[in-house]
Amino acid sequence: MSAIETLAPTLRYRLREFHSFEAAGDRFVYLVPSGAFFALGVIGGDIVDRIRAVNPTREELADFLLDRGYPSSEISVSLMELEQSGVINQGDFVQEKPSVPIKKFPLQRIVLNITNQCNLACTYCYEYSADKISKTEGKPKFMPASVAEASIDMLIKESEDRPSIHVTFFGGETLLNFPMLRSSVEYAKRRCAEVGKQVEFSLTTNATLLTEQVVDFLAEHKVGMTISIDGDRELNDKMRVFADGRGSYDVIVPRIKMLLQRHKTNSIGARVTLSSGVHHVRRIYEHLTQEIGFAAVGFSPATANPNRLYSIGETKMGTILEGFEDLAWEYRDWALAGRHHGFTNVNDTLKELHSGISKAYPCGAGLGLLGVGTAGDINLCHRFVDSDTGRMGHVHKGGVNHEAREQFLDTHHIGARYDCHTCWARPVCAGGCYHEAFVHYGSTSAATLHYCDWIRGWNDLCLRIYGEISLRNPSFLDRFNEN
């Protein structure tokens, strides 16, 4: 018998860190920080409840369970399982501070801001609005091919032994620089064929410039697409307007329908930006799926300083979460019937919960992903391109500045985000978007505290949905196995 076991009888059991919830009448625990989650059996539930109530010693707990009729062998195995899995602990448990992980992290994706110009003037746009952080003065309006090619070469080099890389085109309005986009795709394919890597592409567009010729090129090269659109005419045209104030809905809808009909080689999703006047989740979702024909629709609140008129505010966020919940239960119903539902916010969260992700960083920015501006400046991600914050080198001047990148990763690791250390949602959140934090608090390393309740509420909802699907239609979850 080891020294620890000898001492153990005097120590009191305590619960470790987890989030408990119920789904379809069963009890679940989502363990933090591992991200593993389990359905509690009857004895597991009794043990957790007893520890929560009285923090018993091992002897007291065993007596309690024996009185309830559990055989002693089942009691000892159960206690050992729960302790080894990190649900309970004898004595106080000191969580080790998460360490900064490996410094060497090959690049997987670059986002090329191929233009900083746009033919729309959406009120909430972070590239043009009052919260703009990029400094485009003196920078070319359109990225020249030489910068794009140097960026692609840099990605190939920095991706080291990764078999597959990804190039995302972004703007401004991406298709304003379509000739360069086309030559970049061809260049990347040629270079990747030479070095034996796979390459994939994606882009975001406002759809105003889609023509059959453009769409056919994108389909041929399997370019995944995200279309910015905020719903029906009335809602879309509140924010998504041309410089003269004209709405964009009537211009884009016929083009989107043409796109959905001609481009079948990769996913095409709608991306809705929610703002103070645009928070009608179900109405938007139904319009985009049923009237326009999107198979996937994702929603995101506009990033804004809270003083802006289009900022959503707490009351509207409550409305939005209710709308999300309503659609999420519909997702659940469809999943139980084995059907695909296009609400991608649920789909994305379920995928993360399925793998049991436990994030050291909120996203891949600075880690597997970097953004490149029109002049070749490398930055954290597309949202920081050409800003003073998050600079990490230049494609023509030595490529990635690894020192700056490492310094960023050191200071933004979950271990350094003390606000998050007591939150059960940190395995999936890890502190929130750097850009959101920067606009709200003036610092990329701040946690996005104004979203904490929302993020916990959302993840609790998705855990309950996942739990119920796991009990009633587990084969549905197999779709999340692929990486």
């Binding site: 591992s34 989650f37 389990f38 359905a39 399982e81 729960l82 793998s355 049991g356 996942y466 796991s470």
Partner: protein
Amino acid sequence: MHSMKPVNRKARRVEAAVNEVTGDVQALQKRGGEGKIYYPMGCTLNFTPGWEVDISGGTAGLCQPVERDLFDCYLGCGWPAQVPDHLNNAPDWTDKCASAANDWRKVDIVFP
């Protein structure tokens, strides 16, 4: 698991780790799946004696002499052999036994 059931992929990995800690003692003849033989550390394959049977389940392949299990089984394999506690109470009990195969009669008698 008795007390709970894994739901997501991470939970299945936790379950596998728990089973590794709590797993049962495995018999020497256990097959390692798909026709592979399961070789425990310190088995007769490494010519350390003390196992009651060899990997085929017989006794023909056991190393000799079995007296060497004085050392190998409980030191090398962690087998709970009944030997004196040489760390605390009987540090000298094998001092006169330079080679177990020849000198095994010279080990001290130790009274608990």
